[in-house]
């Protein structure tokens, strides 16, 4: 009996171990043990003593790590894969600094708050992580900010658009995309003035980003004089939203505005068609833009609207990035998600600022004063990236240009007039 019990425990343990292994597989191997002792170091430059967060010490042979926190598995994986693709190109373009190379640590946060906090804890535990090009999703960002804040890791998010994020009073958090204030009112204006809708339904996925955006769109649309007949949340991750769509169809709105991501947006779009909502337009957001939505909806997606950042102006950097991206991954940027250019820019900005602040100490180690990098990112002025020129204000909004709406014509995204 005892032997059996022991065996069963061993089997269980093995099962659990095996089951854990794949989840951990995408992660890099555990960071090498690092000795950062402030007072012992002899070659420490003076700047470290006065820096608010102290210095990151990179020994010769180690890499300088830039973190990234995005969904890489599950229904939103395309966003994370796109960001990682772009970030890897940025790291490759950045080259070395005094013999130290840079490394992108793209971690999977599944887009949610729990994952965002877990990734933040993992990355802040690694003393060689000096920047965070993300997180991509607002929910993960809100959960991660306090953790990165405490560790003094500068954040520059390519896509976290939820408005209150920059109002949390964090010194380290900055972002480059338009906010949902801009997107929500632009969408409401577009639906009311350009498309001429007066009666819409507004749905959201109940998450930080989706609900925030939907609330703004609803109040803006009502302020314009339109009528919002239904304002409802859905539960994420389900495959059947026919009951709520049925209820909506009873009030016959002209459009359904959805704040959320493509996984749920695609299900909604597909199921609208058989429920008396054939003529209603699906109006999504930057969370529903991407190749995933196209392939999951097929013909049903025709005529739906989505948002993405404004196209960057043609430049040498953009041309090089487009060519590199296509050569490396076989697809064009801004196909998987709207934020390819932003992800590249964010990673590049962080690396640039790290390089500017880094000092080689007398003992041959590389010292990166964290507080100086945090200040440098917040103080970004007239930095020209692929997406445009960034200047961060005092709360960390670096680019507030509004969204570009896209519609699907013949199975491809096209500019909406």
């Amino acid at each position: 009996m005892k032997k059996h019990l022991f065996l069963s425990v061993v089997v269980l343990f093995a099962l659990v171990l095996v089951s854990c292994a794949p989840a951990a597989a995408p992660a890099e191997e555990a960071p090498a043990a690092e000795v950062v002792v402030e007072e012992v170091v002899s070659g420490e430059p003076e700047v470290c003593a006065s820096d608010a967060y102290g210095c990151a010490v990179i020994e010769p042979g180690q890499t300088v790590k830039i973190g990234m926190s995005s969904p890489m598995t599950g229904g939103y994986a395309d966003f994370g894969i796109d960001a990682e693709n772009s970030g890897l190109l940025a790291v490759a373009d950045a080259g070395d600094f005094e013999g130290w190379s840079f490394e992108l640590m793209a971690e999977d946060d599944e887009g949610g708050a729990e994952g965002g906090a877990a990734v933040a804890n993992k990355l802040t535990a690694d003393p060689t992580v000096v920047g965070m090009a993300g997180p991509l999703f607002s929910g993960a960002t809100a959960a991660g900010i306090p953790i990165y804040d405490a560790a003094g890791i500068p954040m520059l998010s390519p896509s976290a658009t939820n408005p209150p994020l920059t109002a949390m009073g964090s010194a380290v958090f900055n972002r480059v995309p338009f906010t949902d204030d801009a997107q929500g009112s632009a969408a409401a204006n577009y639906m009311f003035n350009t498309l001429g809708f007066t009666k819409i339904a507004v749905l959201h996925d109940g998450e930080t980003y989706g609900k925030g955006l939907a609330t703004i769109a609803k109040s803006e649309f009502e302020a314009l004089g339109g009528e919002v007949v239904v304002f409802e949340g859905i539960t994420v991750g389900e495959a059947d939203y026919t009951p709520i769509l049925t209820t909506i169809s009873a009030s016959a709105p002209e459009a359904i505005y959805f704040g959320g991501y493509s996984a749920e947006g695609a299900v909604l779009t597909n199921q609208m068609k058989a429920l008396g909502l054939e003529d209603a337009v699906f109006f999504g957001c930057d969370g529903t833009f991407g190749a995933d939505y196209l392939s999951l909806t097929g013909d049903n997606g025709e005529g739906s609207y989505h948002a993405k950042p404004k196209d960057p102006p043609a430049s040498d950097a953009k041309g090089k990035f487009d060519a590199d991206y296509l050569a490396a991954y076989g697809i064009a940027p801004v196909v998987l998600s709207p934020f390819s250019y932003n992800s590249y820019d964010c990673t590049t900005v962080l690396i640039t600022k790290v390089k500017e602040a880094a000092v080689v100490g007398g003992d041959g180690n590389l010292y990166i004063p964290r507080g100086a990098v945090v200040d440098a990112v917040r103080g970004l002025t007239n930095y020209t990236g692929i997406s445009g020129t960034y200047t961060c204000d005092e709360i960390g909004e670096c680019n507030v240009e509004g969204p570009q709406f896209m519609t699907i014509v013949d199975g491809a995204f096209a500019y909406a007039e």
Binding site: G237, I244, N270
Partner: protein, 369 residues
């Protein structure tokens, strides 16, 4: 007098405890009736076409829940164990069916009339049949090995141990699928005769209500499978041995029944049902990924408890009821759709307050292990 006082005060307390559950149940029932009254009489926003649509979607999802719930109930009836990896058997069936349809889509059979004809559209019935057979076979095989590897060595262990093993197996299967098939969401390609979104149109109250082909197909097939299962359990030698093992393993063994084989057969049957539910899920809902089995698995477990775990007709009834409550509940009670699971579980609690062993469940005479 004094002794009287002493005996009444704990009695009073006991009375309160005794009545607290019925009182809670009645309060919830009154609240539900009040909401019904508001929605149907006072507001009366929705016409019969809305209710018909909700009913249709409830019955379809209910049929899938029922099929999965039967797997829980069969295993529980025989081993008194909750097979938490059951939802993953369904997920594996979904993948198996998907690959059959992908293959059928890519085998081209050019004919004179249509040079772009593919197998899936030339022989839709055959490709659907193959998809179901493959889906059921793969899931049944997985179920068989699941029992052999994860549960059989633990059969004499305390009850909690196989439960934990089941959770481990569930996580293992999810991650195995994640590694094998990538995390991307995939989309079923149905044969044209069963294309999603199409269906018979019925005119109700001036509005076209679609009776989707996939939904009708799913519902009828799940009913057929359940009837077939009842036949197997009640009328065949295999069913007789299953019932005997469920009643008393030791005595069944003394009567010459191969207990291990019977338990294996139970897992094969429950796996096959989960596999067919998986293919149906794919045909009707289209989108799926490695995590697709989790939510239906939990819901079906709830359905099995609702109907009375261990009782096969109870699992069917519970599944249908849960599907209908989820679909109609939020609209009928005018509560946010984000709370649809809350509504379903409150109703579960109310039913369990009045019938602790489920709707059709009987109180078990003795522990089976």
């Amino acid at each position: 007098m004094k002794s009287n006082e002493k005996t009444t005060s704990p009695l009073k307390l006991r009375n309160v405890v005794k009545y607290i559950r019925p009182i809670f149940g009645i309060l919830v029932a009154v609240y539900i009736i009040w909401r019904f009254y508001l929605v149907f009489i006072v507001q009366n926003l929705y016409g019969p076409e809305t209710w018909t649509r909700l009913l249709i979607s409830g019955l379809i999802i209910g049929g899938v829940y029922s099929l999965i719930a039967i797997g829980y109930t069969l295993v529980y009836g025989i081993l008194l164990m909750i097979n938490f990896a059951h939802g993953e058997l369904m997920m594996i069936g979904t993948f198996a069916g998907y690959f059959v349809f992908e293959a059928a889509k890519n085998i081209s059979i050019p004919s004179a009339g249509n040079p772009e004809m593919v197998f899936a559209n030339a022989y839709p019935a055959l490709s659907i049949l193959i998809a179901f057979i493959v889906g059921m076979f793969v899931s049944a095989t997985t179920g068989y090995f699941l029992e052999k590897i994860a549960y059989r060595p633990l059969r004499k262990a305390p009850r909690l141990i196989p439960l934990i093993s089941a959770i481990g197996a569930s996580i293992f299967l999810q991650n195995a699928a994640l590694l094998l098939f990538s995390p991307q969401t995939r989309n079923y390609t149905n044969p044209e005769v069963l294309s999603r979104g199409d269906g018979w149109k019925i005119l109700i109250n001036g509005s076209m209500v679609t009776l989707p082909y996939t939904g009708v197909f799913t519902f009828i097939l799940s009913i057929l499978l359940m009837v077939g299962l009842l036949f197997v359990v009640k009328k065949t030698r295999l069913g007789k041995s299953m019932r005997a093992v469920a009643m008393d393993k030791d005595t069944a063994a003394l009567m010459g029944i191969d207990v291990n084989q019977t338990i294996s057969n139970t897992f094969i049957i429950s796996g096959a049902l989960a596999g067919s539910a998986g293919v149906m899920w794919g045909l009707h809902n289209g989108m799926f990924h490695y995590f697709v089995g989790f939510i239906p698995g939990i819901k079906a477990f709830t359905a099995a408890v609702l109907g009375g775990i261990g009782n096969i007709p109870g699992a069917m009834l519970g599944g249908m009821l849960l599907g209908l409550v989820e679909s109609i509940g939020p609209t009928a009670l005018d509560i946010s759709y984000q709370l649809k699971d809350v509504i379903a579980f409150v109703i579960l609690i109310v039913i369990l307050i009045f019938r602790p062993s489920g709707i059709l469940g009987e109180v078990l005479a003795e522990e089976k292990i």
